[in-house]
């Protein structure tokens, strides 16, 4: 099997890697680049734990080949905090206790960030629909939604 050479940008940094042609972007991120923040909950697009953005668009990294990242801009959970400073969404997830086991959290944060970039002032219903592809088996979602709505409000005030 011949490997594919890929040049891409991950969290603003140029990155090059070799991957198998059938290797998912999720496997590349975790096993080749060492970015293990993106999680594999299902591997089939159902849970959203592997959410990243590619070219500014929210996708499941388990449903994309590593080879497809050529020339793209990939953003993962590792690019969310600014050094030691948490993103407002991350801080609000802590404040609202919006996580328990934490497996869904990176994907939810990436998806919520994408929501607020597209729609800084979502209704609760819009937030719930946008995040419907992110499953959480622990929290019951309410605290997550409260954290997202609170972060949205704070971010609107700050800008």
């Amino acid at each position: 099997m011949s490997k594919v050479h890929v040049s891409t940008t991950i969290n603003g940094d140029p990155v090059e890697y070799l991957c198998e042609a059938d290797e998912t972007l999720l496997d590349v991120l975790r096993d080749r680049i060492g970015l293990t923040g993106s999680k594999e909950g299902c591997g089939t697009g159902d849970c959203g734990a592997c959410s990243v953005t590619v070219g500014g668009r929210l996708v499941c990294s388990c449903l994309m080949l590593g080879a497809e990242a050529e020339g793209q801009e990939v953003e993962t959970i590792e690019g969310m905090a600014d050094g030691e400073n948490l993103h407002p969404l991350q801080q609000k997830f802590i404040d609202h206790a919006a996580l328990q086991c934490g497996i869904c959290t990176p994907g939810l944060l990436v998806a919520a960030k994408s929501l607020l970039e597209n729609n800084p002032d979502p209704t609760e219903e819009e937030a719930r629909y946008w995040l419907a592809g992110n499953l959480c088996r622990c929290t019951g979602y309410d605290k997550i939604i409260r954290a997202v709505m609170d972060a949205a409000q704070e971010m609107r005030g700050a800008s």
Binding site: T44, G45, L63, E68, S114, L131
Partner: protein, 288 residues
């Protein structure tokens, strides 16, 4: 496995046809990668069509809208003019999966996955959509309903690529469309029944043209002519809507499974057809 990302359609056709082995087209990958993951597919060559010139464009042409085969549902939903012209086709495509799936899934992929429950297909069928197919035998235009021939089966041959989906402008009058599906949840589920209705009203509010596509209740999406005929010539009033419902229930030929019994699917086919026709009428400016 080999990954190829050609930039011309001729190269793509060649990559799909020269040599042996299982050679497959990759668009959004939301079906293909799931199949590979669950060992239902193990291609030797994957031909990614997203880099082919024009495949990501939504273009206004003489006589209609052309949506490139690699345009995602999210991109369709962001295209205001397309949404205004074909709200039903766009809402059907935007029902596919989650936000994440929306960022990648295409109409052509939805069609070529050949699931009887594919959400965008009844809406495309109602819209009279035509697929432009490019392959070893040249280029041809094929009505969308003639592409799937049964669950997982297509009338296309190896090397055939859908380059775009064409949504032809309706004739004179005021037109619109709508799509509704029934699922047990509110999001992220497979249609138990899906109905697309497209119609055109004249100045007096009389329906002069209509098409109805019915999904998930037969091996392929059905074009329900009796339902369209029940609309044409009427003001899309209660009597006409009752006739549409009866025609769709009569056309439904579903299976029993854990998502719905035969009886339920037959009933819901009529209920949703009625509602979708009423929405299309309102969108086309018809009096309530």
């Amino acid at each position: 496995m080999r990954y190829e990302a050609p930039t011309t359609i001729d190269d793509a056709v060649r990559l799909l046809t020269d040599g042996s082995g299982d050679r497959r087209i990759l668009a959004g990958g939301t079906d293909l990668l799931v199949r590979m993951r669950s060992d239902m597919a193990d291609p030797d060559v994957i031909v990614d069509i997203k880099g082919i010139e024009g495949f990501r464009d939504i273009t206004r042409e003489d006589g209609g809208w052309r949506v490139g085969a690699a345009v995602s549902g999210a991109e369709m939903g962001e295209h205001e003019a397309l949404v205004a012209a074909w709200p039903g086709v766009v809402e059907a495509t935007n029902l596919i999966g989650s936000t994440q799936v929306q960022g990648r899934a295409t109409m052509a992929g939805n069609l070529c996955n050949a699931s009887p429950a594919a959400d965008s297909v009844p809406a495309m069928v109602a819209a009279g959509a035509v697929a432009r197919v490019v392959g070893p035998d040249g280029t041809r235009d094929i009505p969308v309903e003639d592409i799937p021939t049964g669950p997982g089966r297509l009338s296309l041959t190896q090397g055939d690529i859908i380059a775009s989906i064409f949504l032809p402008d309706p004739g004179a009058g005021s037109s619109s469309d709508a799509y509704l599906r029934f699922i047990p949840r509110t999001e992220m589920d497979i249609a138990v029944v899906g109905v697309g209705v497209a119609l055109t009203l004249d100045d007096s509010g009389t329906c002069v043209a209509a098409r109805v596509g019915l999904g998930a209740v037969a091996p392929t999406v059905l074009v329900v002519e009796e339902a369209a005929n029940a609309l044409i010539g009427t003001k899309v009033d209660d009597a006409a809507l009752d006739a549409v419902a009866a025609a769709c229930s009569a056309a439904a030929n579903p299976i029993d499974d854990k998502r719905g019994t035969v009886e339920f699917r037959v009933e819901v086919s009529g209920v949703l057809a009625r509602r979708a026709a009423a929405i299309a009428k309102t969108r086309a400016g018809g009096a309530a």
